[in-house]
Symmetry: C2
Subunit: 198 residues, 2 copies
DNA sequence: ATTGACACCAAACAATCGTTTGTTTAATTT
DNA sequence: AAATTAAACAAACGATTGTTTGGTGTCAAT
């Protein structure tokens, strides 16, 4: 079995991944409009026009990054999720830890989804929103299992939770608390009363 | 005292306010890089070059909007704040209500501060960060008075709170919950345990 | 009446943007 | 070996960007 030719190493579709990776990094670092096709091409070692062989437009490139980002983020969530039979709050803690770790990662895909709003590229906004919803539904699934006090709106809880978690990307500095510590503190703040004896 | 000339109604510095208001609206709606000097000039009924009589650059215009935004936001917070002698949680509720109302307002100044990140305009980033810090210090002041359970990090609490509150701008739709309802729900989530009998 | 700052206009500047076009090289298929 | 296709290059396109330059009418003070 020394046959190495059967795994279809067609030269196709390898640089397209490189281009998308680089676009993800630059979109995450600088934003969509602040990143030019020339920036991406330069880092990929190719010419600006060559990108258009792989992606029909800059907006489509962003959509591709977004959708790949959701897939990767969901994969990380799935890997961290202890499953519906685990204790619900511990489950949320595990999932949120994976989330915070992902958006602070050097892998840029998750960061793009938080930094770049759908209206940055009107031509691809629908695809971006759909991808985002697909992810939020996964989080909603975990929140649905939480035993909550009556009157607590689970949708509001989800939006607050994601808002607080995603904001970490803005204020977190190297050398501070670890992503896991941050996530745990956040979940604990919701689970246990923050109020002391007043 | 019918002297109306002492209040220096020199015709100067009236359109500069209009230009800044319009810039605030467009920056809030579309973002910094997505807004052109021509967009602003058109809405102000003047020519692009004329803006440079009032502001030396686009980045400086953004800084002006930012700083005016902080001033207005602080004014609203001050007006809503019942003061340090009020019950601390009620105080936070009042202040956060004012905050959420401001960032959903048609007045665009507060919205710019949340939508446009300092690194959008490197030339003015220092001024933007300074303005933002000035505001966050005001919130920290209110949080400092809260009676909290031991082990709760007040800085983390502040960052989570602002992250969750600012995220409202992304998901809130017309006709949904009122800003006040949202703010109250958010504070209550921190003050009271969300957890039910599990 | 003259002056001088003020607040703009008119027109252009160089640079950069996303994108298109025609061509070329190298790998694969026939 | 010939034909085909994938994946790029090379070079430009028109449009738009932030900004500059020089002129102009208007108003307040002299």
């Amino acid at each position: 079995m020394t046959n190495t030719a059967t795994q279809t190493p067609t030269r196709a579709n390898n640089r397209i991944g490189v281009v998308r990776d680089i676009a993800a990094e630059l979109f995450a670092e600088k934003g969509f409009h602040e990143t030019t096709m020339r920036d991406i091409a330069r880092r990929a070692g190719m010419l600006p026009g060559s990108i258009y062989y792989h992606f029909p437009s800059k907006a489509d490139l962003l959509a591709g990054v977004y959708e790949e980002g959701v897939s990767r983020l969901l994969a990380r969530i799935d890997a961290a999720d202890p499953g519906p039979r685990a204790e619900p709050w511990a489950r949320l803690e595990a999932v949120m830890t994976a989330h915070v770790e992902a958006i602070l990662d050097r892998s840029a895909y998750a960061r793009v989804m938080i930094r770049v709003l759908p209206d940055a590229a009107p031509g691809a906004a629908a695809r971006l929103i759909e991808a985002r919803d697909r992810y939020e539904a996964r989080i909603a699934e975990v929140i649905a299992r939480l035993p909550l006090a009556p009157g607590i709106d689970r949708r509001l809880l989800r939006l607050f939770l994601l808002g607080a978690a995603n904001h970490v990307q803005v204020w977190r500095r190297e050398g501070g608390r670890s992503p896991a510590e941050i996530a745990v503190a956040l979940v604990r703040l919701l689970r246990d009363p923050a109020r002391g004896h007043g």
